[in-house]
């Protein structure tokens, strides 16, 4: 999606971009089998709601909440998880 268009809709962002405190529904996991499986094992998959709790400075890990579980996920991985805000 071109940058401009993205700004206009702003409904789909990745977990790194998602603002702390916001909740979104995962629409796509943009990664290979390995990543998808690891995320899946922890219950992170398309269609579920995640809340971003915080992100560390300088592209550090992102903390999300899935159900009752808090999970720390590296920035690069967070970039690959796309969510629909709201």
């Amino acid at each position: 999606m071109p940058e401009k268009e993205k700004k206009e809709f702003m409904t789909i962002v990745d977990l790194a971009e998602l603002k702390a405190g916001m909740t979104g529904t995962i629409t796509n996991i943009d990664g290979g089998h390995g990543i998808t499986n690891r995320l899946d094992a922890m219950g992170i998959r398309c269609g579920i709601k995640v809340t971003k709790l915080s992100g560390q400075f300088m592209r550090g890990p992102v903390i999300i909440k899935v159900g009752k579980t808090q999970i720390a996920i590296g920035y690069g991985m967070a970039k690959k998880v796309l969510v629909q805000v709201g």
Binding site: A41, G43, S54, Q56, M58, P61, V66, K68, A72, M77
Partner: protein, 597 residues
């Protein structure tokens, strides 16, 4: 301590699992996600102590124990935690392999320990297990915590859906464990026919049917959790916590020394040893071996160098109090659940050295003793990470014995003596880490870990863990100290040490600026660093020489025990590389320090 995980490990690596199939009526595998309390249940069932902490991945290898007696004797195995049957690190590989093996044996059952506060995610593994051809009983653990945070689970409903027995348990208090045991006999195989792609969908349905959540306000733990992980508040809190820890460890360690250790050695052991010394007057060699040299007609526990004097005083009098203090505090941190948060905060920094945040756990463990530190590297996903972490801790993280040595040698100079050593070691940690990140091939994945809720450490579990670690130290370290003292005395008597001293003299004096006599201490350092102090103390080294020796002794070789574990964990080829790195970096740093200081 036969059942300590460390002792089980060789059997695992070499494939000789110590499973006496014939002797046991049943084999029970405790299987579940990381950090759900399997190890505590194991402890409850077998009475065998295993280390349990509040972070994912404490158990990196299986531990086996027995319960019941006679005809009813059962083998219980604490399997490393795994989120699914598709493993992503060596600890999980062990788990999956064991589960698959057991599925082929008739007398095995799985006790699937699941976290009641996290039913949905835990059921993912449960449904996978139910598809394996093996009887399952489910232990719904952390039942009290689930109730506390407002989660209600209809156990009977869950049982009928899964088709296997489900028993609510609270492992730390023992609630439900007896009932769990009574159902080992009627464990049955699940009848799960769900396709992998349908699994989460099915889990969703189950959750809707069996679980209700009443909303509760933010608990104190949740607020604390937010504060300690948010960068603005988390980083200052981390700094404060680490400082406080340092002082508390020192306070407890010194307290133990002045209140207990010194009085015992001075008032009880000293007079006794002086008597023994008198009795041995005619037997010079025996006197040297047991009591050592008298200094001004008296025994000096630090410098006499007899097996019964220095050999006992160094591990028990100088190092043990700090080991106790360190593991007491670290275990408290582990059980509270703070470590994964620290891992997140420090993640970026550790990326510089080719690791990710979770590597802070093995690094911290190594500050107590490098052996558990090296073993804990198994929680890291790739070979590259494990290699880097193991080498960094071997060369630049001083264990408690090394810390005791550094303080013993340089304590009298205060910060002026201590700081240069630690600053040098820290610089080496960074520089060697950055170099290895660039040079060592392979992958370093990103951090991906569950952040467990804060829990107040359960005193019983905590003390048991501290006791196990102390026990381990006593069993593993003390024999090496005694052997080291004996070896040194024999080598001295035979003149071997002065011979090597002469041989290496030019190198030691010109490049490192040390007297040839220091070579004795460096040789002893192969066995144990802490006893090298006694050999250096009488040499009257200058501050600069003491700093160089301290850094060299920490770097050039880990102790024999660590070396043995490195061999097991890295294999011979990587170990040789590691040894080369250790010797080279120690020499380079030693020479540089000699030039700079």
């Amino acid at each position: 301590m036969k059942n300590h995980p460390l002792h089980k490990e060789p059997h695992l690596k070499h494939g000789h699992h110590r499973h006496h199939h014939g002797d046991y009526k049943k084999k029970i595998l405790l299987v579940g996600n990381p950090n759900v309390g399997k190890s505590v249940i194991f402890s409850r069932l077998t009475g065998v102590g295993v280390i349990a902490s509040n972070y994912p991945g404490t158990t990196v290898e299986f531990t086996a124990g027995a319960m019941g007696s006679g005809d009813m004797k059962m083998q219980v195995i604490d399997v490393p935690g795994t989120y699914s049957l598709l493993p992503s690190n060596p600890a999980e590989q062990v788990a999956v392999k064991m589960i698959k093996q057991s599925a082929e044996e008739k007398n095995s059952i799985i006790v699937n320990v699941i976290d009641a506060t996290n039913l949905e995610r835990n059921l993912n593994l449960t449904l996978q297990l139910l598809k394996m051809n093996i009887p399952v009983v489910v232990a719904l653990n952390l039942w009290d915590e689930a109730k506390h945070i407002g989660i209600h689970i209809k156990v009977e409903r869950l049982e009928s859906i899964l088709g296997v027995k489900v028993i609510p348990t609270v492992a730390v208090t023992g609630e439900g464990i007896k009932e769990l045991v009574t159902h080992f006999d009627d464990a049955c195989k699940g009848e799960c026919t769900i396709e992998d792609t349908e699994r989460w969908h099915e889990i969703g349905r189950i959750i809707e049917e069996v679980q209700t959540i009443t909303h509760k306000h933010h608990t104190f733990g949740e607020r604390l959790s937010d504060l300690t992980i948010h960068p603005w508040t988390g980083l200052p809190i981390a700094v404060v916590i680490l400082f406080v820890l340092f002082f508390v460890i020192r306070f407890i360690g010194e307290g133990l020394i002045t209140l207990i250790v010194n009085p015992v050695f001075d008032r009880l052991w000293y007079p006794l040893m002086m008597k023994v010394s008198g009795l041995l007057k005619g037997y010079t060699f025996l006197h040297t071996l047991l009591i050592g040299q008298l200094i001004d007609g008296k025994i000096d526990f630090g410098q006499s160098f007899g097996v019964l004097t220095t050999g006992l005083y160094v591990p028990l009098g100088a190092v043990l109090p700090y080991i106790v203090a360190f593991y007491l505090i670290l275990s408290f941190l582990e059980d509270s659940g703070y470590l994964p948060r620290l891992a997140v905060l420090i993640d970026k920094t550790l990326h510089m050295i080719g690791l990710h945040g979770l590597a802070i756990v093995p690094m911290l463990l190594a500050c107590g003793c490098n052996v558990p530190g090296v073993l804990a590297t198994r929680m890291l996903e790739t070979k590259r990470e494990r290699f880097i972490a193991a080498i960094l801790m071997s060369i630049s993280i001083p264990c408690m014995a090394q810390t005791a040595m550094i303080f013993g040698l340089l304590g009298k100079y205060g910060p002026l003596g201590i700081f240069p050593v630690y600053i040098t070691l820290f610089a080496i940690w960074i520089i060697a880490g950055v170099l290895m990140r660039v040079l060592v091939k392979g992958e370093s994945p990103e951090i991906f870990t569950e952040i467990p809720p804060y829990r107040f450490p359960h005193p019983h579990t905590l003390l048991k863990k501290v006791w196990m670690r102390i026990h381990w130290f006593l069993h593993e370290a003390v024999p090496f100290v005694l052997a080291g003292v004996i070896l040194v005395n024999i080598l001295y008597t035979l003149g071997v040490i002065s011979f090597i001293g002469k041989l290496t003299g030019p190198f030691i004096t010109t490049l490192l600026g040390l007297p040839p006599e220091a070579v004795g201490a460096l040789i002893v350092g192969f066995m144990r660093k802490d006893i090298a102090v006694g050999m250096l103390a009488p040499l009257g080294l200058s501050l600069k020489q003491l700093i160089i020796t301290s850094v060299m002794l920490t770097m050039y070789f880990p102790c024999v025990a660590t070396f043995a574990v490195l061999l097991r964990e890295l294999g011979i080829i990587d170990l040789l590389k590691a040894a080369l790195i250790m010797v080279l970096s120690a020499t380079v740093v030693g020479v540089l320090l000699n030039i700079i200081l």
